[in-house]
């Protein structure tokens, strides 16, 4: 191996290491899709939000909070069936394991959206801001839709 080749190789290795570390900071490998909010009957001030959260990275990432200018408060909840009784359990955070997808879906994990700033009807959209444990934030628009009995088995879009 001559000197020039060695130099090129070293440069190449150095560059790839450098670029990798730069990209690791730039690319946030969490994707939020199929987000929707169920329209609530009039006079009801709590709504449910659903979405698909995919973590494409090699390490687990934790969803810490969800906020929105359209609601006074948002909590992560899970509907839990215990025998015949159903209860909602508040989740302090939600871990998305490496290379996996978590579904927020009817009758299971969901966002509990409190007190909409103004009434939301089917066709409206609301902004949801997801904050993760590594400091990243992701802001998406969720469409308000009327529920159908198909919500259980498949998702909108």
């Amino acid at each position: 191996m001559n000197k020039v080749n060695l130099f090129l190789l070293t440069t190449f290795i150095f560059q790839s290491l450098f670029l990798n570390s730069v990209f690791a900071k730039e690319i946030f490998e969490v994707d939020i899709s199929e987000a929707w909010i169920s329209e609530a009957p009039p006079t009801v001030s709590v709504l449910a939000g659903y979405a698909k959260i995919h973590n494409a990275s090699d390490r687990p990432i934790t969803l810490l909070t969800v906020s929105s200018p359209n609601f006074s408060k948002i909590e992560i909840h899970r509907s839990v069936l215990n025998g015949d009784m159903v209860s909602m359990e508040k989740q302090d955070s939600l871990e998305i394991p490496a290379r996996s997808t978590i579904m927020l879906s009817p009758g299971d994990l969901h966002l509990m959206l409190f007190d909409p700033v103004k009434p939301l009807r089917s066709g409206d959209t609301a902004t949801l801001n997801f904050s993760f444990s590594d400091g990243h934030n992701k802001t998406i628009e969720a469409k308000v839709e009327r529920r159908s009995s198909e919500d259980h088995s498949h998702h909108h879009h």
């Binding site: 169920s38 009957p41 709590v46 449910a48 009784m85 159903v86 209860s87 909602m88 088995s153």
Partner: protein, 217 residues
Amino acid sequence: MLKELSSSKFLMPAMAILAVLATSAGFYISLKQAQQSQQGGSTIEGLFWPNPKQINEFSVLDQDGNDFGIKQMKGKWSFIFFGYSHCPDVCPVTMSVMADSYKELVGDNKDLQVIFASVDPERDTTEKLSQYVNYFNPDFIGLGGNIEMINSLTGQIGVAYYLNNENQTEDYLVDHSASIFLIDPLGRMVGKLSPPHEKNKIIQQFTKIKNFINEQS
């Protein structure tokens, strides 16, 4: 003789025969039971038969503020679900499945009524219940009232609920039954539909139970 019996030569086959006889008897009995319960209709999922519970007098208010009791259930098939309007997930999921099921069933079942019974007397006023049930279907009935009234109904059906409001906040949650109960026109609780609720499953179960009950009379 005794000595011979206790010898392994005799004992082993005797035990084997006994075991076969016992197993056959057990099998025969369970087969008989299975046949009997099939005649009794227990193979229909969610059916309470024989001896369905007779629902007796209870006193609640409907979404228009009118008295509602067992009298309003007689002569009709009633689906009844217990929940609360501040429930964002399970209750509206169940009610929208009921709305779609009702739409398909009502054509052939004019005597059908769908009831949402609130277990949250403080927040679910008559006015709120009226708008809540009307959103899913204007035919639906919303039941509520004060806590004694609600307990008169939950006591008859035999369901529990729990208000998680020990912190006295406005956003409290309520634990409640996830099942849909089916009351026949004689006021008997003849079935319970368990979650997850799906339109086709509800339609099938209801049709089977209704046909079975009609065959009994």
